[in-house]
Symmetry: C2
DNA sequence: TCTGTTTCATCAAATGTTTGATCATTTGGG
DNA sequence: CCCAAATGATCAAACATTTGATGAAACAGA
């Protein structure tokens, strides 16, 4: 990154490298999971996250699903159209608050998530083996510390 | 992740946690950069990556740009429509190979990338401060090792 | 030289994301 | 009790991404 430092003497090269590397690594992992596990089965990574959340935690309100799976409510709303159309989950108006949506897996969705998650986790395992057990724990610790520190950094979060 | 382990005894929880944490951390960083730096200026993160690559390495063929900025040629092709329309770069047919494209920043693009990168790097610095210098180096080392190991894992890569 | 294959770029259709606006419902203060 | 403000979901427009198909140019071998 010599050019950046030459033309902008104030550049923080170490911070740049950290963010760059973080992104490259994550892109690789996500691309691999998506193209070797999800797309061949007609799924997408965001769709998987939503179904997985519903499988783990059971039926819940859409707002909660959005928080758990890390997306905005608008994005979830669009995504639900596809998932509902494919018969993987059902959308119902909540009884206690008629603005809210109650989401639940259909039987088909329940069966599907089991199989897909198995394949997903096998690929995750293959990635994990690149590191020693101790290194994996350290990586997770560092990433958590990074996230925790973001509050001080006044980072912008999703609604 | 108790449910996953109960219903699927073979689940590798540690691998799952690693991938999950990696994704959560990266999402936070990207979301912050995109929403606090790029979107307010009418840019996107992928557009920034392309312009940044051109700024660092100078005019180059589109194929190279795609590799450097980590996207498929089809995705780059679509993205170029926006960037060219906004007058930030120019697309020209290469002379030696009339199939290939030669990309270069316009003067406007050159000026714009300087300012945006400065703001971008300031946010990167804020994130980096969440870790100690030694921890940053260790994080980068672990991520690089993870990427290096992917070859053994037979991971799928982008074309 | 001609033909079959590879390579570069683009297109098409489907998906998912963002921000900002809109609509309906709920809540809370006067 | 009523009306303003907050909240949940959706819509609209613009973007970016994927896979697979298509067109055009370069290459390689007979």
């Amino acid at each position: 990154m010599h050019k950046a430092e030459r033309e902008l003497p104030s550049v923080n090269a170490e911070a740049m490298r950290m963010v760059l590397t973080l992104n490259r690594a994550t892109s690789m992992v996500v691309y691999d999971l998506e193209s070797s596990v999800h797309r061949p089965r007609g799924w997408t990574w965001p769709g998987f996250r939503v179904l997985f959340a519903l499988w783990l935690a059971g039926p819940m309100e859409a707002k909660t699903t959005a928080e758990i799976s890390g997306m905005s409510r608008a994005a979830l709303s669009a995504l639900l159209n596809t998932l509902e159309r494919d018969g993987l989950l059902s959308r119902e108006r909540a009884t206690h608050d008629r603005r809210a949506l109650q989401l639940s897996l259909t039987d088909e969705g329940y069966g599907a998530i089991l199989g897909v998650f198995r394949a997903h986790n096998r690929r995750e395992s293959a990635w994990a083996e690149a590191l020693e057990p101790e290194e994996r724990r350290e990586l997770v610790r560092l990433l958590n510390k990074l996230m925790a520190g973001s509050t001080d950094a006044q980072a912008k979060f999703r609604n």
